[in-house]
């Protein structure tokens, strides 16, 4: 343990980053499989359940179970996409065509840096969040970096030099810029509430979670109960920002063949999807942190109390790493469970609701969601001023 | 595009800045800001595509913000930062209006080349 603490901070940061990537990347990859299984289940089908790695058949119960879950399909898929011929059409702008998938991946994984994903309690009894960088501007940084992801779609569409990808990318840029407004406005009430006068100021997500873990009725309330409209607007905007189905205008296969990735194949194509799922994971994470109480197991049940029930409390004098690690793992598990549920929700909606028309998307964004978000901010500003003002 | 940088205009200040790897102070930031501003200015005079000219204007604006932030940082005051906040806000509004004008112009004239937009000359 002391050895761990002696690692220089730069290396430690790199290691942590690597660890987080190692979690996010498989989640993003597994989501593509989960999407197929969930879609199948929602439609009364089985979904992929055939692929199996030879030796796994011999594992008595687990092997077959994993096969039925389609776990090995994921490996087969990955292998296929990796080793397939990588087509590079002759009419494309090669440079941008090649870097567009990379540009898709980078912001998607960079946003994780400022998202906390768990917590433990240190010697002093303080809740220490597990995250890569606890910066003041937390959520704004997520928005800023995530907004760079749009370049992959624009460049992919433009570089493909073909009309459907181009239309897809033009739609993407208009849609993402439109919904960013509602997305940002919808979280303002949360931060107005959190940054009460005289308590310091921070846009960090840790602070939001800390507020939802306070004792007492108002403290322990998750923000989805306090601000349902904010949560609603944020959720809708999140759907639009991650290009999930009622809003997946940029790839709507009914009218645009495949949208911005029409000309892509094999590994480059799959990178776009990993990026989309990574965006979805991070977006779900932010939603959980903002409105679903982060790593608190239940509303009005802060994780500290929960640890108390499990006997995972540090006594004042001695500090045990084992307990701290258990706490950390437990909180991460709770958080991940919520995130996975959110991802399931994304898929659930996708296989239920049909796609909007493009003009409907724009109308919802500008004429419904934006006024709603603005009114929400005004109302909460007044309410918070009345409640917390001196 | 990187290769074309071998012209002396760009090499000189870079060499000047990179030579000692001196501790970075206000000087460096202001120099960098001036350099970027000059580049933007150069671009505005040089290019004929309205959009690129507009981009170079943005570059100049951006260069000025860098100077403001640097001064603010090294003097320990808030004002430069707040000023940059306003500059960014105004720049966003300005880009929106400017691009709308360019789009309107393009709809009317079907070109964005500067020397073809000479209606007032004749």
């Amino acid at each position: 343990m002391n050895l761990f603490l002696q690692i220089p901070p730069v290396v430690l940061g790199l290691l942590k980053g690597l660890a987080v990537i190692c979690v996010i990347f498989p989640i993003a990859g597994a989501c593509s499989m989960a999407e197929r299984k969930v879609s199948a289940w929602l439609q009364g089908r089985f979904g992929p359940n055939r692929v199996i790695v030879p030796w796994f058949e011999w594992i008595p119960f687990l092997g077959r179970g994993l096969q039925r879950l389609g776990v090995f399909n994921l490996l087969a898929d990955g292998g296929k996409l990796l080793f397939k011929e990588d087509p590079l059409p002759g009419h494309v702008n090669k440079f941008y065509f090649m870097i567009a998938p990379a540009i898709a991946i980078i912001p998607a994984f960079t946003t994780v840096v400022v998202v906390p994903f768990g917590a433990y309690i240190d010697q002093a009894g303080q809740v220490v969040p597990l995250m890569l960088a606890n910066v003041d501007v937390g959520l704004l940084a997520v928005f800023a970096i995530a907004s760079l992801g749009i370049y992959s779609m624009i460049l992919a569409g433009w570089a493909s030099n073909s009309k459907y990808p181009f239309l897809g990318s033009v739609r993407a840029s208009a849609q993402l810029v439109s919904y960013e407004l509602s997305l940002t406005l919808s979280v303002l009430p949360v931060f107005l509430w959190v940054n009460a006068p005289g308590t310091g100021a921070s846009l960090s997500l840790v602070r939001v979670v800390a507020f939802q873990s306070l004792p007492g009725f108002w403290g322990g309330t998750w923000f989805i109960f306090l601000m349902p409209v904010s949560a609603f607007v944020f959720l809708i905007a999140l759907f639009a920002e991650t290009n999930r189905l009622p809003f997946d205008m940029i790839e709507s296969e009914a009218d645009l063949v495949g949208g911005f990735h029409t000309e892509y194949g094999s590994f480059k194509w799959s990178l776009f999807f990993v990026a989309e799922y990574a965006h979805m994971t991070v977006g779900s994470g932010v939603f959980v942190l903002l409105f679903f109480g982060g790593w608190n197991p239940l509303p009005w049940l802060p994780i500290g109390t929960f640890f108390g029930w499990l006997g995972l409390v540090q006594s004042a004098g001695q500090f045990s790493y084992a307990i701290a690690i258990t706490q950390g793992v437990l909180s991460i598990a709770i958080f991940l469970a919520k995130v996975l549920f959110m991802i399931f929700f994304f898929m659930w909606v996708r296989w239920t609701v049909p796609r909007f028309r493009y003009d409907q998307v724009m109308r919802i964004g500008w004429r419904r969601l934006l006024p709603l978000a603005l009114a929400n901010v005004v109302v909460y500003a007044i309410v918070i001023a009345l409640l917390q003002g001196d | 595009m990187i290769v074309r940088l071998s012209s002396s205009i760009f090499q000189f200040p870079l060499a000047l800045a990179a030579a000692p790897l001196a501790p970075v102070g206000l000087n460096h930031y202001v120099l960098l800001s001036a350099l970027l501003f000059a580049l933007g200015f150069f671009g505005v005079l040089l290019r004929r595509n309205t959009l690129v000219v507009y981009m170079c204007l943005e570059l100049m604006l951006n260069a000025s913000t860098l100077a403001a932030v640097a001064f603010s940082r090294f003097n320990g005051t808030m004002d430069g930062n707040v000023f940059v906040f306003f500059i960014i806000t105004v720049a966003a509004a300005e880009v929106a209006v400017g691009l709308a004008i360019i789009v309107a112009l393009f709809r009317l004239r079907r070109t964005v080349q500067l020397e073809e937009l000479t209606a007032l000359k004749h």
Partner: protein, 184 residues
């Protein structure tokens, strides 16, 4: 003069506020899909479970034998002529003289159905006077080459098997031939 039709102008109800937000419908839809999520799977797990084939199913055309195991086809070539995509090719031939039913009828020397051309229309079955060709319940047909998908006589009989009918045509013919005076 036709009497004027009574036209009822249907007034579409204006959407309520709740309906205009789409939300009740969306939630209703979510509930429906959730029911399916926990409901019974309707997919047939194909290689293990096979679909139930109804009696009138028109599968791959096959040749059948009679209860005594003789071929029923007499190579009249009606099916060859009626086949719309010309998938059938028959080479008529004699029945060997030493066979028990020799000199009564002919039999196909070659009988090929090109399954790449067959459109499963069932006209061959309709037209066959001997009820020798049937579209049975074989529905999955695949092969690695084009030649493999041209069913020859052996393949057709293998697919078809015997058809337990009660005509015993060959027995009757044999009996008739035995009792009748020999012509030549």
């Amino acid at each position: 003069m036709l009497p004027p039709m009574s036209v009822i102008q249907v007034q579409r109800k204006p959407l309520t506020f709740a309906e205009r937000t789409y939300l009740p419908q969306v939630f209703g839809g979510l509930m429906i899909t959730l029911r399916h999520f926990f409901g019974r799977r309707v997919t047939l797990e194909y290689p293990e479970q096979r679909p139930e084939i109804s009696p009138g199913y028109r599968g791959v055309p096959t040749l059948v034998k009679d209860p005594n195991g003789r071929e029923k086809c007499v190579s009249c070539q009606l099916c060859e002529f009626v086949c719309p995509p010309k998938a059938i090719r028959i080479v008529p031939g004699e029945i060997p003289a030493d066979a028990p039913n020799a000199h009564v009828e002919k039999a196909p020397q070659e009988f090929e159905i090109n399954m790449l051309r067959c459109i499963y229309c069932g006209l061959c079955e309709e037209v066959c006077p001997e009820q020798a060709i049937f579209l049975q319940n074989v529905y999955s047909l695949c092969g690695y080459s084009r030649a493999e998908l041209v069913n020859n006589k052996e393949k057709l009989y293998e697919l078809g098997g015997t058809m337990p009918d009660q005509h015993f045509k060959w027995d009757k013919k044999k009996a008739a031939a035995d009792h009748a005076p020999v012509h030549q």
